[in-house]
Amino acid sequence: MISTVRLQSEPFDAAAESARLTQGRADAGALVTFTGLCRGDEAGVPINALTLEHYPGMAEAEIERHVAEAKARWPLLGVTVIHRYGRITPGEPIVFVGTVSSHRDAAFAAAEFLMDYLKARAPFWKQVERRDGSTWVEAKSADDRAAARWHKRTAAE
């Protein structure tokens, strides 16, 4: 299985990353991609930009660990995770998760699992830049719950 994990400050091309995942292979039946983008507003108020702070070293390790867990849980043929840090303006991509499998259930489940974990566990912090100053985005308890459902599933297995 080919897996790619990248942290970078530069923008990336989600479409090209998506194409790369299935290029030249005939065993892939299903490709699921998630692209998280910077919106022009946060809670209804316009923003100028987001700035993402991260914990270098730990962020890579956390993502690699979750990619390994996804590979152990589902029959994956390829995984790509890209997460940006630094200043990101509205319309730009922040995060990309792409999963390839022979069947759609595995590709969907692995992509959702990775996104839930990135939201709740990967050491990134978003700061919103508005005309009148900057504020840190508050974590949502919904994100913790979304990540927790994968724990429950393990326990039930």
Binding site: E53, M58, A59, V95, L118, A122, W136, A139
Partner: protein
Amino acid sequence: MTLKVRYFAWVRERVGKAEEDVAVPADVKTVGDLVQWLSTRGEEYAHAFENPKVVRAALDKMHVQPEAALGSAKEIAFFPPMTGG
């Protein structure tokens, strides 16, 4: 024991620095002990840790709970709940 302590996001802003090397007293055994001890070092620390439940910790780049022993770790980090993805 000397430990590198790193701060992120608003914890960093409140403490006023991104990292520092700290000589940890012998009776500070756990992550929770360290938070308590740091809080006594000045107003900026007291402010950063005023609600210890909100501040998360990672020991040698792994998430840990307050009960975790510092052991022979080289680095600890404190930060708010994560908001990536």
